[in-house]
Amino acid sequence: MMNNQIDKKEFVRLIQENKGIVFKICNSYCQDKEGREDLAQEIVYQLWRSIQTFHAELKFSTWMYRITLNVAISYYRKSKRVNTIVSLSENLTDIIDENEGYEDEYEKDRMLLQNLINDLKELDRTLIILFLEAKTYKEIAEILGMTETNVATKIYRIKEQLKQKIMNFKNQRIWKTRI
């Protein structure tokens, strides 16, 4: 049992090391700060609970991504039943331009990208997150339980979809500055 091999201290260290990805996944499946923290706690709890099922033949990152994504999607679906999730992409120009707290262009771009990702279907989001996390098609296929060919086709389509939305967004901004 893995629980005996990884003690609490070691587990907390692993979480601290990987909190970037937990944050990005929480951000992609939960829009409010309070909910994100709750989701993060749920993920940590489930990771600790599931560590006994960890198989040595699986990469630690594959195992972690599977749990984190499964918990995040379930959390999202549960909150979707309670609240109506509002699509942000339609008013994105206003939202981003009205927020003046950004220190640099990167932050604006990051918000744009994050909102476009949040607007995808919950399963499509998993693909683009894993792609952006530089996972190989093989690992993505393993995490999601689909074929590599299917992963490649879908990622290509989602990227095209996102590119189109980014173009539309940039055009909207040009129009706004002209007006």
Binding site: V22, C26, Y45, V71, R110, L113, L123, E133, T153, K159
Partner: protein, 216 residues
């Protein structure tokens, strides 16, 4: 896109700052909430079912051992026994669901786990369709020799109408409330109308997972 995704983010530094102590608290809090959210509704179903079965058992026991043999006793004990049998089956299906919930493994691939979770939501449909089968027996338990032999025409019209309509309804619901028919508008509306919106949502999600997995 990758460059933007990987760009430094101050929010991450302040996010999820756990130490050994706060980790302990998270564990306790989440252990409680998990039991509440996932299994609670099933436990309520089982408790109500078992309560109903016990009540029926008491009635059957007293009738069998404390009343003389009669024609009416046959209808009473027979109807209640069938109700007990069908309710037991529905309770058994709920127990099976709890076992499945306990076996859900989040470390399986995303499509497999999500499919299992959606199927679990959908499984309520099995208990519901089985439960409907007991409906006609609520219109037969009170029948006795007096009513059958001396009942007037109005009694017979009402009795045949009620038993007939409940039998037809029970069979119709049993045959129509199933996974395949959830695509039909009539069944979807019926399920949503009686508050099983989550069931139709789960069905849609299963289709979505299937399309996602098989690139349709």
């Amino acid at each position: 896109m990758k460059k933007i995704w990987d760009s430094p983010n101050k929010e991450i530094e302040n996010f999820l700052n756990i130490n050994d102590q706060s980790f302990e608290l998270t564990q306790i809090k989440k252990a409680k909430s998990k039991v509440k959210s996932l299994i609670f509704s099933k436990i309520v179903g089982i408790t109500l079912g078992l309560g109903w079965i016990s009540f029926m058992f008491i009635l059957i026991y007293f009738t069998v051992f404390n009343t003389p043999i009669s024609f009416g006793k046959f209808f009473f004990v027979g109807s209640l026994s069938i109700i007990v049998l069908i309710t037991s089956l529905a309770v058994f299906l709920y127990v099976k669901d709890i076992i499945t919930i306990k076996q859900i493994d989040n470390s399986e691939s995303v499509t497999v786990t999500q499919l299992k979770l959606a199927s679990l939501q959908l499984s309520i449909i099995k208990s519901v369709r089985v439960s409907w089968l007991q409906l006609p027996f609520y219109s037969t338990w009170y029948l006795n020799y007096e009513l059958i032999m001396k009942g007037n025409i109005i009694f017979w019209i009402v009795q045949i109408f009620v038993t007939g309509i409940t039998t037809w309804l029970a069979i119709w619901l049993f045959r129509n409330i199933n996974y395949k028919n959830l695509n039909k508008k009539r069944v979807r509306n019926l399920m949503q109308g009686v508050g099983f919106y989550s069931v139709t949502q789960a069905m849609d999600y299963i289709k979505e997972i299937d399309n996602f997995k098989n690139d349709r």
